[in-house]
């Protein structure tokens, strides 16, 4: 039986009006649109307030005061003190500064070279993964903790991996692909126990790039020593981030040649981006509950309605202990990238963790870490909602997505009813 025909033509006429000109952005874990209030806060620092914060004159002092205000706002978002915030160019640089900063400082210190062990997880962001790979090449021992089908690290595994040689644990607060929330607070308790037993050089870093603005964060309650943030996941522009460095922690700067950021990151501050970050952090803190409720309501309705309309879905990651705005689903029998591009043609933006290029497929390491097979690892799609999404956006996706999935499954030689019918 042939199944050709226009996908759009197959839709009912009254639905077509809804489809015209609609663009639905469901990729807020990749980046967020810049909030208009953030743009307005930032604009003067692109025009008349252009001073260098290190300058002594009033142009400089005006910029310095604004950077300090932004620093207080970013600190307040995570319950830190302003002088514990180091502005960076983004989350990746914050992760680099945290991990290299700790490990390089240690290599510089008069301690045994044998004391080089780092614990991380199998589902970290590529920046942390890459840093740990690099450390390993440099002779460090690296333990990559597994996650289980729920996408969550086990405290027992952390305890078992800890040795007297461990100097750093880097575990993300929430995963970027499946949104699962990791037991960082519980790991911090373990770290404190070890310190109390005399292991003074043991630190805990957490990548909170996805979690910030989507979960309440308080660094004292969390108990971490280092925490990475990114502005553009919080409705601010790209190019700005921060590292929380607990007071008293010695960190080797990765950028040298200036006194900025309390000697921890040399280079003239990216003032407009920092001001935007500060404003975005202020708004994220003030609107956190409202945003969480909004995103979760859309996400939950999307998932339950989709389950009612489309079969053979596999949800990736624990569905309770995860970020409120994110849904990661494997669509059986079809491949993620084919689905992503088909959705793109209908003006729906989502993402997939796997990428097929040059005849080699890199299935998502995160989905694989859940123990999923190749087919499911290849068929995963991330839908991440944001504060500007509407019920109509969800209605549109619920209209279009099942049809595309249906068509791709009709095309798929993996679909069971086809396989059964084929004389292979």
């Amino acid at each position: 039986m042939l199944v050709s025909g226009s996908w759009l033509r197959d839709l009912k006429v009254d639905k077509r009006a809804m489809l015209e000109n609609r663009r639905v952005y469901l990729d807020h874990s990749a980046t967020t649109p810049v909030d208009q209030r953030v743009v307005e806060a930032m604009l003067p620092y692109l025009t008349e307030k252009f001073g260098n914060p290190s300058s002594v004159h009033f142009f400089g002092q005006e910029a310095r005061a604004a950077v300090d205000r932004a620093r207080r706002e970013v600190a307040a978002l995570i319950g830190a003190r302003a002088n514990e915030i180091v502005f960076t160019s983004g989350g990746t640089e914050a992760n680099n500064l945290a991990i290299k900063g700790i490990c390089n400082a240690l290599m510089d210190a008069p301690v045994s070279p044998a004391r080089r062990h780092v614990i991380t997880t199998a589902i970290e962001h590529p920046s942390v993964r890459g840093l740990c790979d690099e450390l390993e090449k440099g002779g460090w021992a690296v333990t990559r903790l597994p996650v289980y089908e729920d996408g969550i690290v086990r405290l027992e595994d952390v305890r078992a991996a800890l040795t007297p040689e461990t100097v750093l644990i880097s575990v993300m607060l929430a995963n970027n692909e499946i949104g699962t929330i990791q037991p960082v607070k519980e790991i911090a308790v373990l770290v404190r126990e070890r310190r109390d037993k005399g292991n003074r050089q043991l630190w805990l870093h957490t990548d909170a790039v996805q979690a910030a603005g989507r979960l309440p964060i308080d660094v004292d309650t969390l108990g971490c020593d280092l925490l990475s943030l990114s502005a553009h996941k919080l409705y601010a522009p790209k190019g700005s981030g921060a590292l929380y460095v607990k007071r008293g922690l010695r960190l080797m700067p990765q950028n040298v040649g200036g006194h900025q950021e309390r000697e921890k990151r040399a280079g003239t501050e990216g003032v407009p981006g920092i001001i935007a970050f500060g404003e975005a952090a202020k708004l994220a803190r003030a609107e956190l509950a409202q945003r969480v409720d909004h995103d979760r309501a859309l996400r939950d309705r999307f998932e339950s309605s989709l389950e009612a309309r489309v079969g053979d879905l596999v949800f990736n990651g624990d569905r309770k202990r995860r970020l409120p705005h994110l849904s990661n689903i494997s669509f059986r029998f079809i491949e993620g990238e084919g689905l992503l591009i088909s959705l793109d043609l209908q003006s729906i933006a989502v993402s997939t963790g796997s990428a097929c290029s040059s005849g080699t497929l890199e299935p998502s390491p995160v989905i694989q870490a859940l123990g999923r097979n190749d087919e499911l690892s290849r068929g995963s799609i991330r839908f991440s909602f944001g504060k500007d999404n509407t019920d109509e956006d969800v209605d549109y996706v619920l209209e279009v997505l099942p049809q595309i999935v249906g068509k791709l499954r009709q095309l798929s030689p993996l679909t069971p009813h086809r396989l059964a019918a084929l004389p292979i």
């Binding site: 050709s4 491949e335 591009i341 097929c356 005849g359 190749d374 798929s412 084929l422």
Partner: protein, 129 residues
């Protein structure tokens, strides 16, 4: 993703998708590295391709190459079909980035596997000798 309008049209409106129940030549190939899979079923009549249908699993270029290949093949003799190259297919869909050209390679490989199975091609054509 910047693919050609022809490419997008094939993706939105796949041609001749499905499985022929009365096929007399079938090819199914998998890219062992990335797992993309294409299946072609052909009904050959007096040495010509009378009907063709495809099934595909994989990234968008694999789906599109399957669809576009069915258009290129309609009415061709088996010898003409054997001559179709990866380059012909890539041109027919308005180009492919180099990292995605394996999709066209899989399509041609599947076609040749089906044609070889038909028994209508001289051994010399198949082996190229």
């Amino acid at each position: 993703m910047n693919y050609s309008p022809t490419f997008n049209d094939h993706l939105e409106n796949p041609r001749s998708a499905g499985e022929l129940q009365n096929a007399n030549a079938v090819g199914e190939e998998t890219n062992p590295v990335c797992g993309d899979r294409l299946r072609l079923s052909l009904r050959l009549d007096e040495g010509r391709i009378a009907e063709i249908a495809f099934l595909a699993y994989g990234c968008a270029p694999t789906l599109v190459c399957g669809s576009a290949l069915t258009e290129l093949l309609k009415g061709k003799t088996v010898e003409e079909a054997w001559q179709i190259t990866r380059k012909d297919l890539i041109e027919a869909i308005g180009g492919l980035p180099s990292r995605k050209q394996h999709a066209a390679a899989l399509a041609i490989e599947t076609l040749r596997s089906a044609l070889a199975q038909s028994g209508l091609l001289a051994e010399t054509v198949i082996t190229g000798s």
